[in-house]
């Protein structure tokens, strides 16, 4: 455990999520509790279908729990309206997808600039921030490339830059290396760890891969709807 004084940034209480498909009910999360301190890098593991993505999406404010509460930075986001959540997400969450989800018609620079445009940030400020994060991910020489002109690893680095550009409290990543070869994956993971450390970001990463999880400073397993703390073997 790191410093005892770090405040709790993500707090889940009795979190339950059920999906209804006709007559069958799936409950990937059941009375789940979680407290995560600010600045930690958490790896979420668990078998396929165990609810990792579901939990991540609830933390990111794009899904809502069926019952229970989730508080992030002392704000109970499970009580926010859809439009409040959208605005909150834009400022507080940086989401990194497995399949990057860059906008194909926009260049790397424009993709990274997009969240700032949505937040109506001034042009000069945008330029400063975009150049800064592109430099952080090492892509300043690929700014005017379109996603199709980039490798998978480069695309994911653009996506990381896009997630960082709004300076969010929390980065969430759903199998960010799931689609990459081993070398690129390592590259991305050390970048994530380093940026998380340097910029004091809290990171929640879903992964299947024990090696990926080893980059985090904490690993939790999802089993039967609950989180179990255990060190990967």
């Amino acid at each position: 455990m790191k410093s005892q004084s770090s405040p709790i940034i993500i707090s889940c209480r009795n979190l339950t999520k059920s999906y209804y498909k006709g007559d069958t009910v799936v409950t990937p999360l059941e009375n789940l509790d979680l407290d995560l301190e600010k600045g930690r890098f958490l790896a979420l593991m668990g078998p396929s279908g165990s609810g990792k993505t579901t939990l991540l999406n609830i933390i990111a404010g794009i899904d809502s729990p069926t019952s229970g509460s989730i508080t992030i930075n002392n704000q109970e986001i499970s009580r926010m309206s859809r439009s409040q959540l959208t605005r909150w997400r834009g400022k507080s969450i940086g989401y990194i997808f497995q399949l990057y989800h860059l906008i194909p018609v926009l260049t790397a620079y424009e993709n990274v600039e997009l969240p700032l445009l949505i937040q109506k940030i001034s042009r000069s400020e945008r330029e400063k921030r975009v150049l800064n994060v592109l430099e952080l991910v090492g892509l300043e020489d690929r700014m005017s490339h379109f996603p199709r002109q980039l490798s998978g690893g480069q695309e994911q680095r653009v996506a990381i830059a896009r997630a960082l550009v709004t300076d969010p409290m929390i980065l969430v990543a759903d199998e960010p290396t799931g689609d990459l070869d081993a070398a690129s994956a390592q590259n991305i993971l050390s970048l994530l760890r380093q940026l998380g450390h340097d910029l004091h970001k809290t990171i929640v990463m879903v992964t299947h891969d024990v090696k990926a999880a080893s980059y985090a400073d904490l690993t939790l397993h999802l089993e039967k709807g609950k989180l179990i703390e255990s060190s990967p073997l």
Partner: protein, 385 residues
């Protein structure tokens, strides 16, 4: 809000689909504009034909048709001498005795071939009554002579040069030389051949005239003529304002107008559905992208707005293309109908209608795809493949 460049570049994403949508919009706008230009043309032609101060006195029972109407040859003279409210020109009452006859005409150069023609037998007084008729060349016809309106060649389907002054036409085997040409401010009379009333009575073997057209000093004096017709039951006359007469003719063409609109609308609807389909296909593939945009903080309103911008660009290009074609081409199209020739009218009204329908299509076209993309939750859109 998403940047405009995002909308613009999305249009280049599926160029073929974009082109298809532009084309669809062009066709729809063109159809609607053409239908409107047609209807405005026919209405305008009929409405300018009536003079507010003029009254047509027809045979009782034939109020809808000058063609069928018969009144005694003496009736116009009786009207002229009995009603004081009639306008006077050079101290003579402005009453025009007229025979209206739809027959055939042949050119003296090609006597075997016959074309449809509309004849109006008149006296000099006709020009005092039909004040918008202006002789542009030559002179008023005397016996065995005619003058032709500027649309006669079009109505008959012959060349303008066939009806030049100095040529002649054959009507019921008799030759009439063309001595004048006139225009009438777009009225239906521009499609008529005017000749001496006695010539026409003889040629058409009539003993009665069709009507008397009367010019009043004040439109409200119509009642005086109406009253006269009711009192002189023996003459079997019926008075109708010239404008009302052509307005009722206009009603007669109502079914044609409706049919034109209906055809345009039906083809448009089919085309709009095709467009919606294409738009749906082009936008639904962006479903995950739009979910990702929402994840990074973009609101659904902003997304709808950006799709709407794309749709507006497509439809406005379509409108621009078809309105350019329409304003260059449609006004030159003249259409003959039974009693005259009119041309299609493209004016501000038509242009506004064109842009309006493009705007409506822009909105209608994105409702379904926007619903398909933005109704599902972000999570299920992200999970979709």
């Amino acid at each position: 809000m998403l940047p405009l460049s995002y909308s613009l570049r999305n249009l280049g994403r599926f160029p073929w689909k974009t082109l298809q949508m532009v084309l669809g919009s062009t066709i729809v706008v063109f159809l609607i504009v053409s239908a409107s230009a047609f209807n405005r043309g026919i209405t305008a032609c009929l409405s300018v034909t009536g003079d507010l101060n003029n009254v047509i006195v027809l045979g009782a029972g034939s109020e809808e048709s000058i063609q069928r109407s018969e009144i005694a040859r003496i009736a116009p003279d009786i009207l002229a001498s009995s009603i004081r409210e009639i306008r006077r020109v050079l101290d003579k009452p402005a009453v025009s005795s007229e025979v209206y006859y739809m027959g055939m005409a042949a050119l003296s150069d090609a006597p075997k071939k016959n074309w449809p023609a509309i004849y109006r037998g008149v006296t000099w007084n006709a020009l005092n009554v039909h004040r918008n008729i202006v002789i542009t060349e030559g002179r008023f016809p005397g016996p065995s002579e005619v003058m032709v309106g500027r649309q006669v060649a079009r109505y008959m389907g012959v060349k303008d040069s066939d009806l030049a002054i100095g040529k002649s036409i054959l009507f019921e085997g008799i030759s009439y030389s063309i001595v004048g040409q006139f225009q009438g401010e777009g009225t239906m009379m521009e499609a008529e051949v005017w000749m001496d009333i006695n010539d026409l009575l003889t040629a058409s073997k009539r003993e009665t005239v069709s009507c008397a057209t009367i010019s009043l000093s004040r439109p409200q004096d119509f009642d005086a003529i109406s009253l006269f017709c009711m009192q002189r039951l023996d003459l079997e006359l019926s008075a109708i304002r010239e404008q009302a007469y052509y307005a009722s003719l206009s009603n007669f063409y109502q079914p044609i107008r409706l049919a034109v609109w209906l055809t345009a609308l039906l083809i448009s609807i089919a085309s709009v559905f095709g467009g919606i389909n294409t738009a749906y296909a082009a936008i639904i593939v962006r479903r995950r992208e739009m979910a990702a945009l929402q994840v990074i903080g973009c609101s659904r309103v902003a997304l709808i707005f950006s799709i709407l911008v794309e749709s507006l660009i497509i439809n406005l290009i379509g409108a621009f293309v078809s309105l350019s074609i329409a304003s260059a081409w449609l006004p030159s199209i003249h259409i003959s109908f039974s009693t005259g020739v009119f041309h299609m009218i493209v004016d501000n009204h038509t242009l506004i209608l064109g842009f309006l329908s493009a705007g409506i299509m822009a909105v209608a076209g994105i409702i379904m795809p926007a619903w398909g993309c933005l109704k599902p939750t972000i999570v299920s859109s992200l999970r979709s493949t």
